[in-house]
């Protein structure tokens, strides 16, 4: 075990997979001497060479499509969008091309590309550098969406995403880049993307499902509420959104009878609605109260410190928990 930041965990995961499989390549902007805009590629080009860490011009549409071609040619590309927001430019390559490769090949050719999307607030850089994008892709069959939070999970699930033979969006929260945590020195087994849900904390009175910064805020809020009310709250980090680990959530809700879902993306049309729907469809009888969503404001993200008004705070989480407990 060693203490490690999210940034280092991202770097380690790529390093390990590049060692394990020489077909793993990296594609994106400024991946060479700069080691990527976030430093997460530090040392990789030096170690593995320019033919494994490919520095591209600023043409996200082009290199998204390029990555699919390279995948068909036997490679396993990791494609970084510097900010998740810029995936708008890769939308055709991901949604129309990558997601449909396997189907149109009759199940013969897979498309093992990992699209890396550093997303969300915290950088104070406004409307084009702070969005959360998971729901934009959640209605596109053929894709998988991986969204871990802690350094250890990031390391493990990033490796899992790279290894997975299907096109996968690996989404992490940029604001938590400096978050540290214990990470095992060796990962005994790279996990499957199936059944990836994790009970972060057990509890009896409410099930909270949250990821990324919303998970951290929900944990802080839950601690306060437990302290103040004596109720206990079960917190689940799904870690993977598609395929979603429904059973772990259903089991928990069947126990607690209550649900709160939280994420940083805007509430309307967010992935929380899908989680809530699954729970209601399957645990209606056990639900003691209406489930609650806590999410971002349905608005555009302002520049600078003002962004804080858009994202759900610890207080918002607390209010949501109290509402769900009613």
């Amino acid at each position: 075990m060693s203490e490690m930041s999210v940034m280092k965990a991202l770097n380690l995961a790529m390093f390990e997979e590049m060692v394990a499989d020489e077909k793993v390549i990296c594609i994106g902007e400024d991946l060479g001497k700069q080691g990527g805009c976030w430093g997460t590629f530090t040392g990789l080009q030096e170690k593995f060479g320019e033919n494994r860490v490919l520095e591209f011009p600023i043409l996200e549409a082009g290199y998204t499509l390029f990555s699919v071609g390279a995948a068909l040619g036997g490679y396993r590309p990791i494609v970084e969008f510097m900010f998740a927001d810029f995936v708008t430019l890769g939308f055709e390559g991901i949604v129309d091309i990558a997601a449909k490769i396997r189907f149109n090949s009759g199940g013969v050719d897979s498309c093992p590309v990992t699209f890396v999307l550093p997303q969300g607030g915290g950088g104070k850089s406004g409307a084009h550098h702070s969005q959360s994008v998971e729901a934009w892709f959640a209605n596109v069959p053929g894709l998988k969406i991986v969204a871990p939070t802690t350094p250890a999970d990031i390391r493990a699930y990033y490796r899992a995403a790279i290894r997975d033979d299907d096109p996968t969006l690996f989404i992490y929260q940029r604001a938590t880049m400096g978050l540290t945590g214990e990470v095992p020195d060796v990962l005994d087994e790279v996990p499957s993307l199936a059944k990836a849900g994790k009970i972060v904390k057990t509890g009896a009175d409410l099930t909270v499902v949250a990821y990324h910064r919303a998970l951290l805020n929900a944990m802080a809020a839950a601690a306060q509420v437990e302290e103040e009310t004596g109720k206990t709250i079960e917190i689940i980090d799904p870690r993977v959104l598609i395929p979603f680990d429904k059973e772990i959530v259903f089991d928990s809700v069947k126990k607690t009878g209550r649900l709160m879902v939280a994420h940083e993306a805007p509430e309307r049309g967010g992935f929380g609605a899908q989680i809530l729907s699954w729970v209601v469809e399957n645990c209606m009888k056990e639900l003691k109260a209406a489930p609650v969503r806590v999410a971002g404001v349905n608005s555009i993200i302002p520049f600078g410190d003002l962004e804080k008004y858009l994202y759900p705070s610890v207080e918002d989480m607390k209010a949501g928990i109290l509402k769900a407990l009613k």
Partner: protein
Amino acid sequence: MNFSNEELLEMYSDIVKSRVLGEKIVEYIFSGKIAGAIHPCLGQEAVSAGILTAFKKSDIITYGTETHRAQTVMAHRVGWKPFIAELLGRTGGCNDGISGEYHIHDLKNGQLPAAGALGGTWAEIAGFAWALKNDGKKRQIGFAPYGDGAISQGATYEAMNIAALFKLPILFFIENNGIAMSTPVENQSPLENLADRAAAFNMKGVTVDGDDPVAVAEAVLNGMELAANNEPNVVEVKTMRWEGHYVGDPQKYRDLSYKEDLDSICPVVRFEKRLIELGILDDEIIKAVRESQTKEIVDGFDEGLSQTIATKEQVLDYNRVYSNNAGGEL
């Protein structure tokens, strides 16, 4: 002209085959046996014949897509019967008749996935060409064709930029038939010759007569050779679309007077005359070629139509969508 008489005769055979395939597609669509809006190649047969000749003559292996009018090249790649069956939506198709001609895909035969949405495949093929080069596969290249309309998409420039920067073995091929759906090429691009775009990427570009299969074959062979030496380049061929955008298109947007004397602009007739002049072709061979090509294609359609259509279970097969159990439910 660097082609032997045998090669010229095969080229002739291929141009006729393209013509017959085009005619049969029209026929089978009108009789309701082919679904979807298929784009007929009538008038553009010399392009496919030239490409096929180049592919056969060269030792360079190509991986690519085709334009949606180069069905003859698709069929050559994936096999005639699997192609026709796919076109008909039958289980003998190269993708069980499920993906359709729009999405023909058969990697082992060099057929990279065709896309219904225009604009993306050049960059996709660039990625594949990069893989070929990186694997040290000599004399294997990417073949990236598009029409005069499709190349308006921004990603085609991005693909050329990538190819030029990484010196990729790739031939960009522009099948300029003067029109995109109803839009004349003058309203797509402000250029006399579309191959001139190559200069914006410091690449070579040539424009040749696309109604002359020999000129097409020579240009493609040259382009393939350059590509095999990691010199990406552009070949444009100029031809003419006779039919509508899709079969049944009334073409109200277009002056149709050219239809009054198709023979005078027909690439098949023109090539016939040339080969007759050269003493390679006569009426008897013409008849025989037409008959044998027609038979092969009609047999293919008959065989295709005798096959089953995929079942619901085949269509909704989980393994067709995801590679492993971690996909979520269909």
